[in-house]
Amino acid sequence: MHLNEIKPKTRCRIVKILGSGGIYRRLLDMGCIKGEEIEVVKIAPLGDPIDITVKGYHLTLRKNEAKKIEVEAI
């Protein structure tokens, strides 16, 4: 499963960050690391991007970036 498929108000755990390069490094820096529990809070009014909480703060990312985060249900 990938983060872009998760429904709002659902919690999940990060399994792996896919890819490499800038965006991948950025996600790591922002605290999206393996084993982290996150929650999809909401989707923007126009359907993209999404709002998640990670490490106790709100982070927004596009579905295209969320695709790079592999997650599992908890």
């Binding site: 950025r26 703060y57 970036e65």
Partner: protein, 714 residues
């Protein structure tokens, strides 16, 4: 007694309250500049404190020190190259884990570090307890609690920084990344030390770490300086990466980030007691309305509308005063000085030119006031969240929306407002297409021409020009994204910071800085260009070379008046007409007029004659000047867009196709010299010249196509 000089680098995450701490320390003694070679703003200041002269440098707000953004590279290079005595890292106490991630990277760099746990009052109310003493020991760095917006803890922070600098046996800790990674780091460090690759700054271990993380900037640096040893070190790095990926089943960069967060988590579990309150935070409650699926967009629209009204409607009053003030000043000088060249230079060239710069100040002040409030309150990030999908579709960023909207008022603040975009490509594309948002100065031109050629449907015609501008912006944004600023649009991974009440001091300081920057930099350039424009329109002087003997005409008018052949009114009308005709001849005779004639062939395929060519040139000074130049050209004194006789003259000389085409041309070519001066300041010479070149080309091509196709039908 000579003061001992020390330098503090202020670092921290965006939204950590770094700016208010900076303001608390330096007060009014601060300056804004740019880091060399980049557009990143550099703020610095100093303060005398307990026998020290403390220089404070405000590093750009970053989450990390990887080479992800220009800001991060700037912050990192400052530490490495400038060797500040100490780094003070401002930590948002309500989000220790992510904020400490940056602190860990300063520890990796080996630079002396003091942590300011800012907004500590918030954590006390939210029921979080931290054992600061223990945490400080684990991180080997003093920790001071501060409340930036209430100016609490500032002195403690300075005391801690000074005593940490003076402390000769500072403890040093090393972040460990696990045995496997440590082994590889050691191997790589050996090669770096043996081959003397790069100087030992900051340390061979750190360089090895960055090479393992595949940090592009460090790789490039090593490539440039390592010479023959480059292949050896690259070979070693690749081997290490492969080896680690095999055993750890993960990219080394992941493992390193994991270890950093692991270290933080370890330290926090030891020192941090969180009493879950289970309450929904204020921010979440506000967000349930402001970013709501249904009302989110309407609220955003209303806020933008209010901001636009505020910036331009409220701004209109001081703009009138400034306009009047400069007009009065001009009159005063005109009366005090004998008529002649010098008077014309001072009144038309210098006072007029300066007025043209200063008149935009109210807009800029009000705009940056709004932006400061939007940013400091946390709503800016939400605006980007709401608009990103639509803006992303056209190759822009959610935040691009705000400067583009501002462009409908004035292009200058819209260029400056593009600063809210952190990514350089996004910023440049936004600036390059903001030009096509019809600014207030273009409206008089539209009103004049639409009124002259399409009196019945003027409103619709003007509206169509606005729409064409928006369509052009969308098309050009897409085009620029796939050509000049190629590459995936920058990823959108952004913090939605907690909502906060902006502080008056912070907002005002921010606004003042931007305004001053505009006045200072744009002012000097624009003054020079104003004088140049004045010269172009004044010289060479026509002298005795008028086509008719106007003096004789004036004399005969006077005679007629004396012999009561005409009444006073007719006489004055005649004089005005004569003077206007003289003005038109002088203009045609001047360098600008000659240039107009010279470039007429270029404009011919667009249906424009030399008069329209000159009008376009004068529009470089400011677009509304096109109207007054046309007034001179068609021998109408004191013309504005509502002048009937000017409309009649123009309508009789050209057909509606040419009229519409000239509106299009005015819409599309770069806004004005003040705009270009700001563009250069914000983006550099190269981008400014590109802006001028491509908008001229676009204006020409579009007008060419419209005229050539249009004339088949009429």
């Amino acid at each position: 007694m000579k003061l001992k000089e020390i330098t503090i680098a202020l670092a921290g995450n965006p939204n950590s309250g770094k700016t208010s701490i900076f303001n608390n320390i330096t007060g009014a003694r601060q300056h804004v500049g740019n880091y060399p070679g980049v557009t990143v703003e550099k703020k610095y200041g100093n303060v005398k404190y307990k026998g020290y002269k403390i220089n404070v440098v405000d590093l750009p707000g970053t989450y990390s020190l990887t080479a992800y953004s220009e800001d991060e590279v700037v912050a990192r290079n400052y530490i490495i190259n400038e060797n500040p005595d100490i780094v003070v890292d401002i930590i948002d106490s309500s989000n220790l884990e992510r904020n400490l991630y940056l602190a860990i990277q300063f520890i990796e760099l080996g630079v002396p570090l003091v942590l300011a746990f800012n907004m500590s009052d918030m954590t006390k109310t939210s029921g979080k307890k931290i054992n600061i003493k223990l945490l400080s020991k684990l991180l080997a760095s003093p920790i001071v609690e501060t409340v930036g917006h209430k100016n609490k803890g500032t002195k403690d922070l300075l005391d801690a920084a000074i005593s940490h600098i003076e402390n000769k046996d500072r403890e040093k800790i090393e972040i460990k990344y696990g045995d496997e990674v440590e082994n590889e780091l050691e191997e790589m460090s050996k090669i770096i030390e043996d081959k003397k690759i790069l100087s030992e700054k900051p340390s061979s271990r750190w360089i090895s770490l960055k090479l393992l993380e595949q940090d592009k900037e460090i790789i490039d640096k090593v490539k440039k300086e390592a010479g023959e040893a480059y292949s050896e070190i690259v070979h070693r790095v690749n081997k290490s990466i492969k080896h680690l990926s095999n055993i750890l089943r993960d990219n080394p960069a992941t493992v390193i980030a994991d270890s950093r967060y692991g270290f933080i988590r370890g330290a926090l579990t030891e020192t941090h007691k969180e009493t879950e309150t289970g309450k929904v935070s204020v921010t979440d409650r506000i967000d349930s309305i402001l970013t709501n699926r249904i009302v989110g967009i309407p609220i955003f629209t209303v806020l933008m509308w209010l901001m636009f009204q505020f910036v331009f409607k409220v701004g209109a009053y001081p703009m009138d005063w400034i306009d009047m003030g400069f007009g009065k000043l001009g009159d005063l000088v005109s009366n005090a000085m004998p008529e002649g060249l010098l008077q014309s230079l001072i009144v038309d060239g210098i006072i007029g030119g300066l007025g043209g710069v200063i008149i935009f100040t109210p807009n800029i002040i009000l705009l940056f006031l709004c932006i400061a409030i939007l940013e400091d309150s946390g709503y800016m990030a939400r605006a980007a969240f709401i608009m990103d999908r639509a803006m992303h579709k056209i190759g822009l960023h959610g935040k691009s929306f705000i400067p583009m909207l501002i462009g409908f008022g004035c292009t200058i603040p819209s260029y400056m407002g593009s600063r809210i975009l952190e990514n350089k490509k996004d910023r440049l594309i936004t600036m390059h297409v903001n030009t096509f948002m019809s600014c207030g100065a273009r409206l008089p031109v539209y009103i004049l021409l639409a009124g002259a050629f399409f009196p019945q449907i003027a409103g619709n015609v003007i509206f169509s020009i606005y729409v064409i501008g928006i369509v052009m912006a969308i098309l050009l944004a897409k085009l620029l994204r796939v050509t000049r600023f190629k590459g995936e649009s920058s990823p959108f991974v952004m913090e939605l910071p907690p909502y906060r009440v902006p502080t008056l001091k912070g907002v005002l300081l921010h606004t003042w800085e931007r305004t001053w920057l505009y006045l200072k930099k744009a002012g000097t350039v624009i003054l020079a260009i104003s004088i140049l424009m004045w010269i172009l329109f004044t010289f060479p002087m026509i002298g005795e070379n008028y086509s008719k003997d106007y003096d004789a005409e004036v004399a005969s008018l006077e005679q007629s008046l004396e012999s009561n052949e005409i009444i006073e009114e007719e006489y004055e009308e005649g004089i005005i007409k004569t003077e206007a005709m003289m003005g038109a001849e002088q203009l045609a005779y001047s360098a600008a007029g000659r240039i107009g004639r010279f470039i007429e062939p270029v404009f011919e395929p667009l249906g424009f004659d030399w008069k329209l060519a000159i009008a376009s040139i004068s529009g470089i000074a400011a677009k509304e000047v096109v109207v007054s130049t046309m007034g001179t050209l068609y021998s109408i004194q004191e013309a504005d867009e509502e002048t009937e006789s000017l409309r009649e003259n123009i309508a009789s000389e050209y057909n509606p196709l040419i009229g519409y085409n000239f509106m299009l041309f005015t819409l599309l070519y770069f806004p004005c010299m003040a705009g270009m001066a700001v563009f250069r300041r914000e983006a550099g010479w190269k981008e400014m010249l590109f802006q001028i070149g491509y908008t001229l080309l676009l204006a020409w091509v579009v007008s060419f196509v419209v005229f050539q196709i249009g004339r088949l039908f009429i």
